[in-house]
Amino acid sequence: MSALDPRDELAQRLGLSEVPPVRFASPDDLRRRLAEHDYLSSAAISSVTFLADRLAKPVLVEGPAGTGKTALAKAVAESLGARLIRLQCYEGLDESKALYEWNYRKQLLRIQAGRPEGSAEVWAELEEDIFSEEFLLARPLLEAITATDPVVLLIDEVDRVELETEALLLEILSEYQVSIPELGTLHARQIPMVFLTSNNTRELSEALKRRCLYLHVGYPDVDRERDIIMSRVPGIATALAEQIAHVVRTLRMMDLKKSPSVSETLDWARTLVILGREEIGEDVVAETLHILLKYQTDIEKATREIFGRVS
């Protein structure tokens, strides 16, 4: 007996009339389309994102800050022409901010507006009425589930919520549905792509990890970093981009408090272009190191190691 294709099975469970076609033909197709939107993916990134679509599973993207985790979700949304629904996580995030909330003001108005002679029959009607979708305020997760247009759901920095709050996400991640006690279960009307990002400030629960494909995004290698600089910083010379990538790699090999991220590399590249530099010399690096490194101790250490002198 052959198991059902994951997409077929999910579509059946959600009660969709037809199985939505896969969005990308192959990892290469995905990579090409992301590149059109200035996102250069590695083999791992394009393969896992492709699999997420193919298997209809969420992706948990983990890695140091500033390596393009959020940008990946944005680029995927752009390349699909889909709306990006973003849930920014923070400590203290709760159901009413993440999932849904009853619009009690509107409910009150409704109760006051239509109160004729207070009979039991009317009350039953009223109750059914005020707990309908009309009085529901959709928060990002519910919005993604109920959307009919193409959407990409991004749950950003999921490691910031408490362990208990993670449980809110589980139903959506595995079943693509939201249960509302007064209303019943709302199923997704499509199979949305879901990205979760984490800066790894704490261990996520097994339950959450189990439901996701895992993608670790590290710092890019020299070649990819150079290409990223070239695609993101218009008008930069190849030689300069190459040099920048090399300097950044050397910095990342040092034992620093905070290694320069890709976004900081891009800031640096833009600065050098604005300064009109064609190549990097010691003086430029010394003057602009603070763009790459954000701790005084790191700057001192890097200066000492690169130039062999005290700043």
């Binding site: 994951p6 298997l55 890695g63 790894n200 704490r202 050397t250 690169i306």
Partner: protein, 467 residues
């Protein structure tokens, strides 16, 4: 295929990766729905479904290479006969790295250098294969690990010399410190890349020779959190250092959160009465004061004699990295004399640097440089007993190998009477305790707990539970 997959997962579990049943099912379904002939997709499918932590990637890679890689390479070459991969092997290509056995080692080295300079991946791969054929001297059936052959190959290739020449080539006359440093790092990265190609080549040959399961056993890597601190080699040590920083950050976050959320404080009468006014004086909403975080004071007393120094370094490092979670952390180190090193941590915000300075600056030898716990503890009590309070938690780090000096356990008893708790962390396996000159059993009655603490996992669990 399913058999291979389940033995692969068995291997991952043996290494210590937590692969659940549902993840196994996910992996199998993922393989069903993709084109398994695409190697990188195949690898990504297994990796994304089975590995859920960045720290476990290298363990996965090692196992994957043993179980699956060879099959692909061979398929790859045979299926593409006639196109570029095959020509690179058979005819001298413009890449300049054709393997003809007649060439001298010197010629081969020159061509390899050229390939390294141009970062010609295909030529490097062919070069790696030739290097292994030339120098590794693999003997079929001989049960040694890949590391032995790797060492032989690397040594005869004189990669150090090659690295030096690469630096020269890329410097091309420039002489400022920065260019030099960049060239050095670049050359190093290229050599590393090539070394890993050689490693792959050796592994593939060994797998062909001995089979995947046997090979997996010999390349098995310990996960960073399970490395035995006392017996870590240099590479494992570096890995531990890398793991330690994110780990201490995580630990700090966890401790802080727990302090904030653990329980509510005492009843807040004023606010309860105030809020009861809106319900006609009935206290429906009971208000509580926010909990007062009880931050413990920590005193670490660490044996830094040769036998346990690396363990003490790690623990000090970790405790100080999360020192914001304690109201005070004081550190003492000893061999047979005792010295306070708290100020070293205060002077720099990099615990690693402070730990480095301890070995250089702390005055820990009073007599002959052999651990003397009795003497160290009594020195501690003489000098610092008056500073201990009921909120102090004392951690003693060491193997309690006293070199047959007097134990002076009554001193520890005095310490215990003055403080909140005394914990003893021993980096030796439990079965070694109290053998030879280890006298832990004399000190144990005066400790709240005596714990075996050989890996980061154990250390993290202990520190995470401190309060």
């Amino acid at each position: 295929m399913l058999d291979l997959l389940s033995s692969f997962i068995g291997e991952l579990r043996t290494v210590g990766l937590p692969v659940s049943t549902s993840e196994t099912v996910d992996a199998a379904r993922a393989l069903e729905s993709i084109d398994v002939a695409d190697q990188s997709l195949f690898r990504a499918a297994l990796c994304a479904t089975l590995v859920k932590s960045g720290d476990h990637m290298s363990a996965f890679d090692a196992a994957f290479d043993v179980f699956f890689a060879t099959r692909w390479v061979h398929d790859d070459l045979s299926s593409r006969t006639g196109n570029d991969a095959a020509t690179a092997l058979e005819t001298p290509s413009p890449d300049g790295a054709s393997p003809s056995p007649q060439r001298s080692g010197r010629e081969f080295a020159e061509q390899l250098l050229g390939a390294l300079r141009d970062r010609n991946v295909r030529a490097l791969r062919v070069g790696a294969a030739e290097a292994v054929a030339r120098y590794a001297g693999i003997e079929p059936g001989r049960p040694v690990g890949g590391a032995y052959y790797l060492y032989r190959t690397i040594r005869q290739l004189e990669l150090d010399e090659m690295e030096r020449r690469l630096i020269e080539l890329s410097l091309d006359g420039a002489s400022d410190a920065m260019s030099e440093r960049l060239a050095r790092d670049d050359a190093h990265a290229r050599i590393e890349e090539f070394t890993s190609l050689v490693e792959t080549e050796i592994r593939e040959r060994l797998v062909d020779d001995r089979g995947a399961a046997a090979m997996a056993q010999s390349v098995r890597e310990t996960l960073p959190e399970d490395i035995d601190v006392m017996h870590a080699n240099r590479e494992e040590m570096a890995q531990l250092e890398r793991t330690l920083r994110p780990l201490s950050r995580k630990l700090a976050v966890r401790l802080a959160r727990r302090r904030r959320h653990r329980h509510r404080g005492p009843l807040d009468l004023r606010r309860t009465v105030h809020s009861s006014l809106s319900t006609g004086g009935v206290p429906i909403d009971v208000r509580f004061k926010p909990p007062r975080p009880a931050k413990p004071e920590i005193v670490v007393i660490a044996d830094v004699s040769g036998s346990v120094a690396s363990f003490a370094r790690f623990t000090l490092h970790l405790v100080h990295a999360i020192s914001s979670q304690f109201s005070q952390v004081r550190s003492f180190v000893f061999v047979d004399g005792l010295d306070e090193v708290t100020h070293l941590f205060a002077e720099t915000d990099d615990p690693a640097e402070a730990v480095e300075r301890i070995s250089a600056e702390a005055d820990v030898v009073a007599v002959d440089g052999h651990s003397d716990y009795g003497r160290a503890l009594s020195t501690f009590v003489e000098r610092h007993a008056s500073e201990l309070t009921r909120r102090t938690t004392v951690l003693i780090l060491g193997d309690a190998r006293n070199n047959y000096h007097p134990a002076q356990a009554h001193v520890l008893e005095r310490v215990r009477a003055a403080v909140k708790a005394v914990y003893w962390l021993n980096p030796e396996p439990r079965s070694y305790w109290n053998s030879g000159d280890s006298i832990l059993n004399l000190y144990a009655p005066h400790c709240d707990d005596v714990l075996e603490c050989r890996t980061l996992r154990q250390l993290e669990a202990f520190v995470g539970g401190l309060n």
